[in-house]
């Protein structure tokens, strides 16, 4: 727009229907609906209680991590260390719950993830180092830690001490798996924080224009550090869920998980430049990832072909949300 524009009232921000804007907002929902409809037609097994609960249980971990990743991406950052922190959380919980009991064990596990986030957060926010590189380093280092702590071996959780937590992993409440309840809770809290609190607003504002926020007297580094702590803590939570489902803590799980998590957030329409993205769309993004995998398993698409399809779907989602400018040319 022009600086010398007349001072006539700006055109209304409620514009008539515009395909680009519609897909930016509801593209993820469209993809999800199309996938579910397609899946229902393709396989009778898809729309059964059992299968749906299975899908939901599978995405619980990814979904929870996607919330942390959403906060990081909203600030314009990225967190590649979540897969490794998941493994660390899994190992630490398997050990500490046996030794210190459920409550303290859970606390230590979550703190271990938050601690990893604190370190990367300080390096990114205060030292101003690029998040891609720093969290890449953390990805390697934390994976090493998890393997050192577990001696490279799977750690069986003490069955008596871990009974409560093992029940959680495979348990149901009102017919819905417990981890899915936890994921729902995380999403609700995140939605409230993002939309109704100062913290959420500042996170989005920093991603939109970091310098303008800084020059408004906002302690930007504090917020940036915080999102990495959140991401780390939630990744550890995802690790605890894995342990609780299998009864085993392992340092080798979650390799490449960060990419699924980032894919979920991005399919959910968040911009890697920061500032744009929402909780509901991120949940849909995680669901899309889950449903794609599930339907291909049900129909019997071989594993390698699945990977190609997954990649193609991510590209389609991107084109739907951001491609309107390209098509217009």
């Amino acid at each position: 727009m022009s600086d010398t524009a007349t001072s006539a009232p700006a055109s209304s921000h409620r514009r008539p229907f515009e395909a680009g804007e519609f897909f930016r907002r509801y593209g993820t929902l469209c993809i999800f609906v199309v996938l579910v409809l397609g899946a229902t037609f393709e396989s009778h097994a898809f729309l059964t209680d059992r299968n749906i609960m299975n899908v939901l249980r599978q995405i619980a971990g990814t979904g929870i991590m996607a919330v942390g990743m959403l906060f990081v991406i909203l600030t314009g950052g990225i967190d590649l260390s979540v897969g490794s922190i998941l493994a660390l959380g899994s190992v630490v919980s398997a050990i500490t719950i046996g030794v210190h009991g459920t409550g303290l064990g859970l606390g230590i596990s979550v703190l271990s993830g938050a601690g990893c986030g604190l370190v990367t957060g300080i390096l990114v926010a205060y030292a101003g180092l690029p998040p891609f590189v720093i969290t890449l380093a953390a990805m390697t280092a934390v994976r090493g830690f998890a393997l050192i702590i577990s001696n490279g071996q799977p750690i069986m959780m003490d069955d008596t001490a871990g009974a409560l937590i093992e029940n959680f992993g495979s348990g149901f409440f009102l017919g819905i798996p417990d981890p899915v309840w936890l994921m729902a809770l995380v999403f609700i809290i995140a939605g409230v924080v993002l939309n109704f609190t100062k913290f959420g607003r500042m996170v989005k504002a920093i991603g939109s224009n970091r310098e303008a926020v800084r020059l408004s007297g906002i302690p930007v580094p504090r917020y940036i550090m915080a999102v990495y702590i959140i991401s780390g803590a939630l990744a550890a939570v995802a690790g605890i869920i894995t342990t609780s489902r299998t009864g085993v803590g392992s340092g080798v799980i979650g390799v490449g998980a960060e990419l699924n998590v980032i894919a979920a957030v991005v399919i959910g329409g968040a911009s890697l430049m920061g500032g744009r993205g929402g909780v509901i769309n991120t949940l849909l993004g995680a669901l899309v990832m889950g449903v794609i995998g599930n339907i291909m398993n049900l129909v019997g698409v071989p594993g390698y072909n699945q990977q190609v399809c997954m990649g193609a779907i991510i590209v389609i989602a991107m084109l739907l949300q951001h491609g309107s400018r390209w098509f217009k040319r």
Binding site: A10, S11, K204, E211, L215, S216, G217
Partner: protein, 513 residues
């Protein structure tokens, strides 16, 4: 002597604003021709035409007797026309030799041959420089030499220097002038843009003065004095825009800054602003005014200096500290530093002070927030489609009002405005002046930076003039004439010239964000 380069009736508009209005300019071989004028007079635009960077809407260019069109910078370079901009166009990670021959690097580089040819070019200027060094490691003066060498590597006929000495110390400026003398001897036509008039009078053969995109006249150091030239540069009235409000009551001292320093941009600035007072900070672009404002606001770290608010020393290490001390800044670059364009008017307005709108549970009280912002919008006569409209949907003037609303809401006692009416239409300008008056009348201490002198004269109780990182003087309303302001901004006391550190490494010149 016939003209090497002649421009006739050059006209150029940018989106309805006429930047050049039929300008004539001629350059002879072997002359130093200074191009003078205030900021925004159109000097740089004219030279961008010469460099082929922009195409004029009308007018003719004649070079060595032949009419021509310069389609792009390469066309100009091929003819032997080089423009040395203030921001040097060098690749910092390449060596001096690579930079000199950047345009014609062979696919396979023979280092010995490249370095030998580079050494020849540098030596032709009477300069010594290791051509294998990384350009990023050189001092600014040396980088400038590389830029000139780059031009000399080809058959050079015309060279334009756009404020070359603005970033140089006295000794380096001297060396540059020696290089210019060599070029002049060899018959190169030299265009020299500078705000340092003494310097211009020392080296120029002729001088062309521009004002508001038009030619004022051509003269020479023999025919005119510095005062004559300043008189040619000034004169334009905005005074109708300032309905002088009732006499404001000027109260106690609110802001006091002592000996503020950072690099060469801010060299020991001290100033005070009282309650209800509007103080102007005048001078030319690059004189260190924006940098001074950023130091006061904590946007950059200062090397020395003390800041007092209401008589108490405050520790300002970040914008947060400044806001807590009651200082607000309306930055020069509205789009990148002032507003979050993608976000709503509501979010932008309350950004600096959300606390009173947050309830005990930590939630933002949306309704209270909306009411506050709607009220401020009405007070500031903001024209928008509602508080939820994104700032990017507003005109420049209304965007600036949103930034002002932010500091109205934050309610500090000191407000610094850096070029508050840049890119704003005349109607909105008048309203913004009214709002600044309003803030002062409410007892705030206001510091206004502006490159439009009439704006400062119309608005301010006092105008401090900066040049080269220092305060050069104060103008009171009885001295409000542009000649006096420019005389302070463009001439340098001889004693001061000796007292400054020279040859600072390059990194101290670069702005830090």
């Amino acid at each position: 002597m016939s003209d090497l380069l002649t421009l006739r009736g050059i006209t150029k508009s940018f989106g309805g604003v006429r930047a050049l209005k039929g300008v004539d300019f001629s350059l002879r071989a072997g002359e130093v021709h200074a191009l003078l004028g205030e900021n925004g007079a159109g000097k740089s635009t004219l030279m961008r035409v010469v460099g082929g960077e922009i195409q004029p809407d009308a007018g003719t260019i004649t070079f060595e007797g032949r009419p021509l069109t310069l389609a792009d910078p390469k066309a100009a370079a091929d003819l032997g026309i080089a423009v040395i901009h203030q921001e040097l166009a060098l690749a910092p990670d390449l060596t001096v030799a690579e930079n000199i021959f950047l345009r014609e690097l062979p696919a396979a580089i023979s280092w010995s041959r490249l370095n030998r040819r580079a050494r020849e070019v540098v030596a032709r200027m009477g300069f010594e420089l290791d051509v294998r060094r990384r350009v990023g490691d050189l001092a600014v003066a040396q980088q400038q030499v590389v830029e000139i060498a780059k031009a000399l590597a080809r058959d050079l006929k015309v060279i334009v220097f756009d404020e070359p000495t603005a970033v140089l110390g006295a000794r380096d400026a001297e060396r540059l002038h020696e290089i210019i003398a060599v070029l002049r001897e060899s018959g190169v036509g030299i265009v020299y843009i500078s705000h340092r008039l003494e310097e211009v009078f020392r080296i120029a053969d002729r001088m062309t003065v521009m004002k508001d995109g038009a030619l004022v006249g051509v003269t020479s150091p023999r025919e005119s004095t510095i005062d004559d030239v300043i008189r040619m540069m000034v004169g334009r009235s905005l005074s109708a825009l300032f309905p002088k409000a009732e006499q404001r009551k000027i109260g106690a001292e609110v802001l006091r800054v002592d000996n503020l320093r950072r690099g060469v941009k801010v060299r020991g600035v001290s100033l005070t602003v009282h309650a209800g007072e509007i103080v102007g900070l005048g001078g030319l672009v690059g004189s260190g005014r924006t940098e001074t404002a950023r130091l006061i606001f904590g946007a950059d770290a200062r090397e020395a200096g003390e800041i007092r608010v209401h008589g108490k020393v405050v520790r300002i290490a970040s914008p947060l500290d400044a806001v807590l001390a009651g200082i607000g800044l309306v930055p020069e670059d509205r789009k990148h530093h002032g507003a979050i364009l993608d976000m709503s008017i509501r979010i932008n307005t309350t950004l600096a002070r959300l606390a009173p709108l947050v309830n005990l549970a930590g939630f933002i009280r949306r309704r209270a927030e909306r009411e506050t912002v709607t009220g401020l919008g009405r007070q500031l006569r903001l024209k928008s489609a509602g508080v939820e409209a994104p700032v990017s949907s507003l005109s420049g003037g209304n965007q600036q009002k949103v930034v002002l609303a932010k500091w109205f809401h934050a309610g500090g006692d000191v407000i610094i405005l850096d070029e508050p009416t840049r890119g704003v239409d005349v109607g909105a300008k008048r309203e913004i002046y009214g709002l600044i008056e309003e803030l002062a009348a409410a007892g705030r201490a206001i510091l206004v930076i502006s490159s439009e002198h009439q704006e400062l004269f119309g608005l301010c109780d006092r105008v401090l003039v900066m040049a080269e990182g220092e305060l050069r003087g104060t103008l009171l309303p009885e001295d409000y004439v542009e000649e006096k302001l420019l005389a302070l901004a463009m001439t340098k006391p001889i004693a001061a010239a000796e007292a400054h550190p020279e040859d600072l490494p390059a990194h101290t010149h670069q702005p830090v964000n």
